[in-house]
Symmetry: C2
Subunit: 418 residues, 2 copies
Amino acid sequence: MNTLAVLHAAQLVTLAGPGRPRVGAELSDVAIVSHGGMLVRDGVIAALGRSDEIARQMPADAQVVDAGGRVVLPGFIDAHAHPVFGGNRVDEFELRARGASYEEIAAAGGGIRSTVAKTRAASEEELRQQALKHARWFLQCGTTTVEGKSGYGLTLADELKMLRVMRDLDAETPLEFVRTFLGAHAIPEEFRDQPERYVDCVINEMLPQVAAEGLAEYCDIFCERGYFDIETARRILTAAKSHQLRLRMHVDQLTNSGGAALAAELGAATADHLEQTEEDGIEALLRAKVQPVLLPGSVYALGKTRYPRAREMIDAGLAVVLATDFNPGSSQTPSMPMVLSLAATQMKMTPAEGVTAATINAAYSLHRGDRIGSLEPGKLANFAIFDCTDYRELAYYFGIPQTHSVYVKGERVFAATS
Amino acid sequence: MNTLAVLHAAQLVTLAGPGRPRVGAELSDVAIVSHGGMLVRDGVIAALGRSDEIARQMPADAQVVDAGGRVVLPGFIDAHAHPVFGGNRVDEFELRARGASYEEIAAAGGGIRSTVAKTRAASEEELRQQALKHARWFLQCGTTTVEGKSGYGLTLADELKMLRVMRDLDAETPLEFVRTFLGAHAIPEEFRDQPERYVDCVINEMLPQVAAEGLAEYCDIFCERGYFDIETARRILTAAKSHQLRLRMHVDQLTNSGGAALAAELGAATADHLEQTEEDGIEALLRAKVQPVLLPGSVYALGKTRYPRAREMIDAGLAVVLATDFNPGSSQTPSMPMVLSLAATQMKMTPAEGVTAATINAAYSLHRGDRIGSLEPGKLANFAIFDCTDYRELAYYFGIPQTHSVYVKGERVFAATS
């Protein structure tokens, strides 16, 4: 038996609590063991307590990880990301700095479509190499599970290619990838005049093949004016459900088009973005227990000021999730600490609410609440040590990595330069 | 002779150009050598050119730094920071997330005053240890020169203590500290009912001693309603000039109180913040050739949306500077790449304008334009290698350190985990 003892944590932020997503005031009540320690056996958490108690319990041959008065947290769970793509969009980024809007760039053939062209042109190995760099970034920021979407292929072959890259990186790297099929991310150029034929392709060709190969656990859609309207979204997602895929949805990002209500109607696991969602949308999510996934990185990076109504959602009793939305067009950050900063400064979420939304609530949104997202006996020993003495410093400082080291199943997978 | 050859830079962003701050359209025109290389002799840049040319020129015993197809930039120069302080303000940060305003917290005895209490209570050695951590952060983000202000002591002894910490860190670490006396940062608690007595203390006790000990090169003041008004600022800064200190000023951050005009009147090197500055202020700065120092980190971290008018300033012909304003109350980032991201996404500055403002223009604002801020023969070999192939990626990605390694006077002072 391989035993690891984590000792001398100034704060062991366990997030222990009821075995379900945290709602309302619970979000602001993170469980912390001061001067904490943790015992890990074969990659699974065996015990938690005060460091001196853990030191007494540990076997003589235990490998000791001295947290050195730092903060220990569960690995972050990033429940909405686009970690596989070809190239980047720095040219477009510069155009936006010069005043062009995201919508103008998209209308001129840029936006998602430009990444689609680069992703199609890239070989599976080229995509894998680029995504490997992103995987290292996620780990370096303390993220140990990332949800990853396809959606830059938009042909059967290219969507499968993206999903295979994530399947392979999940096996080859310590980062866990939860795969989501997002064939309905945009209407590709070649179907511009016959969008309904692309929808047929998604339903009749892509979904059955993705399901048959077991390449995705979730299906997502960009439900938005000019992309996929409510009726089309209902058709695609209903088909996805018939293939036993669970649902996530991009809704109400640019306009309030009733996407939150559709997510509720279809029993989606999550409704993501929600920048334009109003009271009725919040109520619909609440009734159907859909978890909102808030993505402040994309509001920031697009230079907008309308953030989703995090406070109203929390106060209404929703089990809010925070994620990076890492992607080359509208949110170029893989950093959950950066998202905690944005949540605190732009959405008035406290550091405790942020951390809860970025760990245990995110785990439940991916149906993994029993395995990851908190430090409790029986859960995987996925954790990060941060170079601070108070977990709130993760949201307080920004733009600087405070990661000291990261562990997945009890194995060290990243260590910063000392 | 100790020779270093930097080879194989995808882009060697030299910022070479006229020997003066860059104004207007010049800000968007950064000089770049593709496939570049650089020869360094005894810490000073000797030659720049194509990598293969540099390889031919280099002596046999040259130490080779293989940039490996990455981007090389001059070290960032952070021309406005508060790197020495006791404690932090995470409690207050949490209160702000819960809805309290910066002004409310200051009125309740928080804000600058709470850091003053912690800074006074800290020994010189404790302050030095904490600032050493900050110094490592700056270097890690690619900054090689930082302007550092006193201003959390507000007694003669405590102001001298802060300045000595910076003097010592300048000598002991590779990071260059340019020291600024900011005794007029706030009226300390004990002078609350007799603010004019504190002003007398600054003028008659602090300034002469700071000057006599050679502890500061600049004098700064927080010119703002409730802090130091225009008349008082004029008195203090005029006294500072009589001690041969150059001037920098915090102006127009919270209200437009005519601070920009005063900076112009007094011939200050810089006028900093300027969130509330209007056309007349811009014109005044232009006439007097005062450089504006823009601090988007503090707008962001305070959750505000009114950024300074960077575009109008550039278009008017001002030699704009970007800086972090690193401090525990309103801008908790030591990262210039984070500031480049903020400048692009929130102030519509292009990556080229950002980089110019963060290097050569910042150098001139500190009267060091002949020594640092660009990669040109005769200048110090202070440079950073970033793990990307296009310098615009520094502004494009955010929250993630892209620093590969950092060099000061040709010596490597930071290397990221590979």
